[in-house]
Every structure is written in structure tokens, then in C-alpha cells.
Symmetry: C2
């Protein structure tokens, strides 16, 4: 293999909110608090901002005193600006020795005030959308340990949420399992990971191999999926991730009311059976015994009365546990994994 | 679509050989002379080098007088060094106003002498391994014109050669056809193209869309393939290229004596029928009527007596023209394309 490793963040965290007051722009901050509450020391809001992650308010000085190691930008203000007040606070954090962690499209290196502060203190500037250097070409060599990959009938069907929920449910059931993040929000939640869609094309599978190295034979990596083999825009990412992940198992994620691929309205969403079949067929190239162990469906688009019959019919059709992880949890899939492995 | 375009080179060319005297290190130079002889004004060899592309020797001054617009590095000395004499000659060319075109892994911008010379004269420095900026996400929107993509059972099975040979045969038969390059050698031969495996993963399909934009309804793009859907290392590139190319037709390329995937000896080469089937299945996502129109086999690994029976049996099995383009040419495939379209 290689000495190249995934991105790693240092906890505990101070989550930066600043003046962003639109909850939907703070998905990263809410996600970190939801899934990794124990890593979060507090939040930093500008005076008068009522958006609240439900954790203690702190300024930089208080964060340092509380042992905080990193400040994470927990918001993505679409169309909003990263103003001078942001830069000033992030530079103050860097000067105090906190790593600055950024999941936005901007690069921290483009702000001289932050760069100078980090250089003086030795703090790291971490852009979680930037892959680590030196990634290898994929080898396809078999690795030890178990792996499960979320795959999708489309983008944005709940693959990250499902992987986090399944990893938590497996851990709760006494299985040694780790969530493996492949996108910027997942990386900020997990504290490590690989921004797979930002890797140069030749290295997609190799990056997935770095993300999920040899492990204990009974350990499970639960890998956040990206895109879909059926997406005209992103299928290449999905296939490289499938091959590099070498999954023993896949779980298909689907949105119940989606009819056409996001961004490509001329392309139809495949059936879940088609999605399983193509992923297993392609996945066998690096994992001969790959199997599907369940389906996670986002059913928010269905009427309340339709939800249970829909999932029950799907489960009968496929012979697999089919759940909405938001409402049902992932325990039926965990039980099925126990039976299969 | 977008205003982003592929890489474009300015002909005629002076092909730089320098002190490289190993013919296998000069594949790019030989390829340019073989396929685009009319674009090549001459070669530049250091005194005493007997390696000969079969074109006139020229120094920079003579090249300028002959109207040369670009100097192309026509060699890739593996393990060899790019010495100070190289830099000095390339800087002299840049100072004289010639674009400097580089397909090696180095970047011309890292040589201050070349950069300064180019800035003074206005010459361009072109690294053909570096994708153009601003590539879009793939849309999957249907484009006008016909497209044919070379796909492979593995890497390094003759996809570039086959595409060049088929495009030439189609042109020879009066079909309006253009070779579309997706790798550095192909780009230097074609004079334009897109280094698809160097694109960031999210933009593979979008880059292929930029490479093969709307065209006349009867025009054919003959697109150089990359990798293989069956390659554990590179399949993501291949799938993104397949989706972005929207091919009306594919031709499968295969090496008759290959048993295992290059670089992944644990992975077996698929049958040609399997390769056709998976490419058509995945390709239908952006090109509903995609079909396979032929097979190009590199038969150099077979005994001379085996060659014809092998191709005949394959042709019978698949119901498609099967040729070795090196020895048979591509005319049977051209004839089949005429029947199908």
C-alpha cells in the first residue's frame, strides 16, 4: 500500500456559525452536533444571531481554555459572503493555535491574515475539499476486514445519513464499525475521510483504497457513497468508489418520490432491483462475493399512509430489509448483516 | 453548454528529440509523423543522435523561417533526465515565438528560463496533461452529430491506434470523421483534445461533453478510449468517458493473448461479449440506441497461423466485423457502420 492517509481533524471542536442565521445553511454544524456531540465543545455565534446548535456559546479565548483543538466552519451561506468579520475571527483562532477546518469552496490559503496567524502559531489550515497529496493508483489487492458501501439510485438520496445511522446502529449492536466519509460534510462529522469527488480521475479507486485500509477481520467500514452508477454526471466517481471500496456488502439508498436523475431530467431513476444488479455486477471485479444487505428509502415524499405498505412491498419484492432510517432506524439491516456474515 | 474548450495546438510543428536515442522513448514523435505527417515541418536532434523520425532536421532558426508555430517534445525518456541542454533549446524556441508543447509529467512553468522567454515573445506553454480550467459537470443533454467510442477489455490494448486507424479509414471512405484525443499522446497527434484521466473526478463526463460538442448530423467523432470498465484502477474514468461521450456506437479493443488486467493480476480479462454487454448497458443511460459495430484485436501475441482463425471465429460468435487494425485495416468496420447508420 502506501503511507498516504486520509484527512484527519483534531477534536474537540468549536463550531463557527458567525452571522449565518438560516438553518438550512448550517447543515454541517447541525450534523456535527447530531452525530458527534461528544466532540463539540461549543459554538461561536456573532452577537444577535439566534441560530442555535444547542451547544455552549464560546469565544476563542474560552475555547482555548476548554481544550478545543480546531475551529470548524459549520455553515455554508449560499450566495452569502465570507466577510471581514469571519476572516478576523478565524485568524484569531489560528493565532491561538486552533486548526482551522473549512468545507467551503474557498481555500484558507487565499487569506493572508489567516495564513500568517497559522504560521506563527503552528496551527494547521485544513480544506476538507482538497484531497491529500500522493494518492496511489488503485491496485485491486484484497484487504482484510469487512466493508459496506452505500450506493444510490441517484445523488442526494440520503447516502450520508444512512451510512451514519447504520454505523451507529451496528456499533450499538456490539459490532466493531466505523463510518468512512467521502464528502466534505461527512469528513467534518467523522473527523476524517477522503473527498473522493475532488480526486483526479485516475486516482478515484486508489483514494478509496487509502480511505479503507486493512483492518481487523471482524471490523466493518461503513462507507458514505457518492453519486450513482445511473447519474450521467457522476457515475465515474461512483464506479471508482465501488471498485476501490471492495465492499462485502452494499445498501441501496433511494428517494421514494424521485422520478428523474437530479440535474439530468432526461435520465430516469432506475428501479432498486436494477440498481442492485448493476452495482453487484460491477462490484464483483474487486469483491467476488459482494451482496446487497438492505435498502434505505427516504419516504418523506410519500403520504403517511403509503409509507408502510411501500416499504413492505419493496421488502417482499427484493427479499431484503427495507427501511426509512429517519423513522425506522437501521436495526433490521443490522440483523440481516448478522445473518449473512 | 459552455465556452470552455479542449486543448488546441498550433501547427506546423518542430518535433523535439534532443539526445534521446531509444526508439521506444520516442513513441510520441513517431506517432505524430505517422498520423499527421503534413503537420510536421521537421525534427530537432542534438548532434550525434542517430534516432530519426524520417523528417528534415532543423534548428530553431530554420523552423521559424519554415513557418513553424510550435515545438513539441516528442520523447519521454523513462528514468532519463531533462537536462540543461533541453531547457536551453526549449527556451530558445519560446523566445523565437514558438509555443512549447509538453506531454511529460513535468510542468513547463517550473523552468524560469522557459517562462521568461515565453513571456517576452508571447508564446504559449502547453502542458497537454493539464486539463483546461472551468470544466462543467456533465449534463447528459443529447447533442447533434454521431459519436463512436473505443472501449477496452483492459488498458493498453490499442484503443488510441484503433481510433486513429478507424477515423482515417472513415475519412478515406468519404465519411466526415474526426479523431478525438483523450490522452497526452493522442492530443499531440491530433493537435487538440482533453486529458480525461487528469480531470477532477466530478468533471469526467463534463470534460467528455466539452471534447465532443454539437456537430453536423452526419459528422462522426471517433473518440480515443481510456482504461476499461473492468479495470480495478481506472474504471471510473472509463465510465465517465462513456457517459459523457454519448456514443451512438462502440468498438471493443482487445489484446488476444492478455489473460489478466494490467497492474491488477488478480482480475481476469472479461470476454469480449461481456465487455460489449456491460458497455452497452451503462452507455444506454446517455445514449439509448448505443450499439457495438466492431472489434479491434491486437493479435501480435498469436502465432501467424492462429490469427485468421481466431478473428473468423470471433466474428462468427459476435456477428460483428473483427479485425487487427495493424494488419487488416478497419475497412470491414467502416462498411458495417455504413450499413447500421
Amino acid at each position: 500500500m502506501t503511507d498516504v492517509t486520509q484527512i484527519e481533524l483534531r477534536a474537540p471542536y468549536l463550531v463557527f456559525i458567525g452571522d449565518t442565521d438560516v438553518p438550512s445553511f448550517a447543515k454541517t454544524g447541525f450534523g456535527i452536533v447530531q452525530w458527534r456531540r461528544q466532540q463539540v465543545a461549543g459554538q461561536l455565534r456573532f452577537a444577535g444571531n439566534s441560530l442555535d446548535l444547542g451547544v455552549p456559546d464560546m469565544d476563542i479565548q474560552q475555547a482555548v481554555a476548554a481544550g478545543v483543538k480546531s475551529i470548524l466552519i459549520g455553515v455554508a451561506p449560499i450566495g452569502g459572503s465570507v466577510g471581514p468579520r469571519w476572516i478576523s475571527v478565524l485568524a484569531e483562532a489560528a493565532a491561538a493555535g486552533l486548526d482551522v477546518v473549512n468545507g467551503l469552496h474557498l481555500r484558507l490559503e487565499d487569506f493572508p491574515e489567516i495564513v500568517a496567524a497559522a504560521q506563527a502559531s503552528g496551527a494547521a489550515l485544513v480544506n476538507v475539499r482538497v484531497p491529500p497529496p500522493g494518492l496511489p493508483i488503485g491496485s485491486g489487492n484484497k484487504r482484510s476486514g469487512r466493508r459496506l458501501l452505500m450506493v444510490g439510485t441517484d445523488c442526494a438520496v440520503g447516502k450520508k445519513y444512512s451510512a451514519l445511522a447504520l454505523a451507529a446502529a451496528m456499533s450499538g449492536a456490539g459490532i466493531n464499525a466505523s463510518f468512512r466519509a467521502t464528502g466534505q460534510t461527512g469528513i467534518m462529522i467523522a473527523g476524517n475521510g477522503m473527498p473522493i469527488d475532488a480526486v483526479v480521475a485516475d486516482f478515484i479507486a486508489g483514494a478509496a483504497e487509502v480511505l479503507t485500509p486493512d483492518n481487523d477481520p471482524q471490523h466493518w467500514d461503513v462507507i458514505e457513497g457518492q453519486g450513482s452508477l445511473f447519474s450521467p454526471a457522476y457515475a465515474g466517481v461512483s464506479l471508482g468508489l465501488l471498485h476501490g471500496s471492495q465492499p462485502d456488502a452494499i445498501v441501496v439508498c433511494h428517494a421514494a418520490d424521485r422520478r428523474n436523475i437530479i440535474g439530468s431530467p432526461q435520465a430516469r431513476i432506475p428501479t432498486i432491483a436494477e440498481c442492485i444488479d448493476l452495482n453487484l455486477r460491477c462490484g464483483r471485479i474487486t469483491s467476488a462475493d459482494i451482496q446487497c444487505v438492505g435498502v434505505c428509502v427516504n419516504t418523506t415524499g410519500l403520504a403517511a399512509s403509503e409509507r408502510e405498505p411501500y416499504l413492505a412491498a419493496l421488502s417482499t419484492e427484493l427479499g431484503l430489509p427495507c427501511v426509512d432510517p429517519m423513522t425506522d432506524g437501521c436495526e433490521p439491516i443490522v440483523a440481516h448483516i448478522r445473518r449473512c456474515f
